[in-house]
Each structure stands twice: as structure tokens, then as C-alpha cells.
């Protein structure tokens, strides 16, 4: 079962300069707030896709739900 920390590390490893805050106390429903310079100039849906692509094939499976908020770094 993935932990919130697993997700955090995978997001930060996949996206250049990303910072992720992930919570998922039950191990299947996760909430993440992600910022990355890679989001600059991208639409929301593109930003979400970049994060969701990290977990391709796992969303809806081992990761039942990933609630996302993305933003360029402040």
C-alpha cells in the first residue's frame, strides 16, 4: 500500500523542482498540493495531467483517489 510519503517522493522525483504536500491517512485516498516551476504557462488541466501521469495505471486502483491542487511556485 503506498503511503503519502511515497507519493510525495515520486511526484518530487518526476517533476523538476517540485514541492509536494501529500496527505492520505487511509492509504487509498490522497490529497496533494503540488508546486513546480514546470507548471509555468500550463493550463490547470495540463498541470494536473503532469502529476497524474506519475501514477498512470495506479489511479482508480491502488490509489483510489488523488485530490489535486497545483500551482506554480510562489
Amino acid at each position: 500500500m503506498p503511503t503519502a510519503d511515497d507519493l510525495k517522493q515520486r511526484i518530487e522525483a518526476a517533476l523538476p523542482g517540485a514541492h509536494a504536500d501529500v496527505e492520505g491517512p487511509d492509504g487509498v485516498h490522497f490529497q496533494a498540493v503540488v508546486s513546480s516551476p514546470a507548471f509555468a504557462g500550463k493550463s490547470r488541466i495540463e498541470q494536473h495531467r503532469m502529476v497524474m501521469d506519475v501514477f498512470a495505471g495506479e489511479l482508480g486502483g491502488a490509489i483510489h483517489a488523488l485530490s489535486l491542487k497545483t500551482k506554480p511556485p510562489s
Binding site: R44, I45, H48, R49, M52, A56, L59, G60, A65, L66, S67, L68, K69
Partner: protein, 140 residues
């Protein structure tokens, strides 16, 4: 000569997206969402007052499968506006709260500031919406 189709469900979905300016693919229907994320999406949409079509993906797992094949988006709900995927529940709610959803749907945002907190799912906030569109399962 009749056209051959090896994927009528996918075609029906693509057609529904093309034919409906605002269409939400969800679990359950707007009157009885079967998942919290779908409920949030419906509540935000209804609060804008914009009419929308809805498709329940639950009756046949192939609907969800083909939808994600078309959109490249893995989760439900999915909102399409003008034939393009706008987003899932997080994006819908975030855009609602900032007023961008009204803009995307071409409806008047409430006067003054952004609408703020999204309405609580389950509370009726708008008049009855059009009946959910159901996709016929033509594969039998």
C-alpha cells in the same frame, strides 16, 4: 452501404461530447450522485445555473474505459465544455470558487466578488436540470 464500427460505445461517447456543449461524465446521476467527487462536480455546475448534460458511467464499465481512452484522463468525473476536457472535480471546484467556471460556461458570474466556497454537495441549489443523457449499450 452501412458503416462498420468495431467500437460503438466509444463512438457514442465521442458523439455525446460533440453534441452537448456542457457534458459531465459521472458516477450516478445529478439527482443521486454515487460518489463524493461526482457530487461536488454536480453541485458546482448546478450552482452556476448553466444547463448541462450528464452521463452515468456506472451501468457499463466499458463507458468509463472508452471515455478515459478518448480523454486521457483516468478518473471520474470528467467535464467537457465545447468538446474539450475542462477537468475533474478538483479543477471544477477550484474554477467555480474563482469564478472561472462561470466564464468557461458562458454564464454570468454573481455580481461582485468570486462565488467563494463551493456549495455543499447534496443541497439543491438550482432548479431541476435536464434529464441525464444515457448512452445506449449497443453491444448487447
Amino acid at each position: 452501404m452501412s458503416e462498420q464500427s468495431d467500437n460503438p460505445i466509444r463512438e457514442a461517447i465521442a458523439e455525446a461530447i460533440k453534441d452537448n456543449d456542457v457534458i459531465l461524465f459521472m458516477k450516478g446521476n445529478p439527482d443521486a450522485p454515487a460518489c463524493g467527487f461526482s457530487a461536488r462536480a454536480v453541485a458546482a455546475l448546478q450552482a452556476t445555473g448553466s444547463p448541462f448534460a450528464a452521463v452515468d458511467v456506472l451501468p457499463d464499465p466499458r463507458i468509463r474505459q472508452e471515455l478515459s481512452g478518448i480523454s486521457g484522463w483516468p478518473t471520474i468525473p470528467q467535464l467537457f465544455v465545447g468538446g474539450e476536457l475542462l477537468g475533474g472535480s478538483d479543477i471544477i471546484v477550484e474554477m467555480y470558487e474563482s469564478g472561472e467556471l462561470h466564464e468557461a460556461l458562458g454564464v454570468e458570474a454573481p455580481a461582485g466578488e468570486a462565488p467563494g466556497e463551493a456549495p455543499v454537495a447534496g443541497e439543491p441549489v438550482a432548479p431541476a436540470q435536464p434529464a441525464p443523457l444515457s448512452i445506449e449499450n449497443r453491444l448487447g
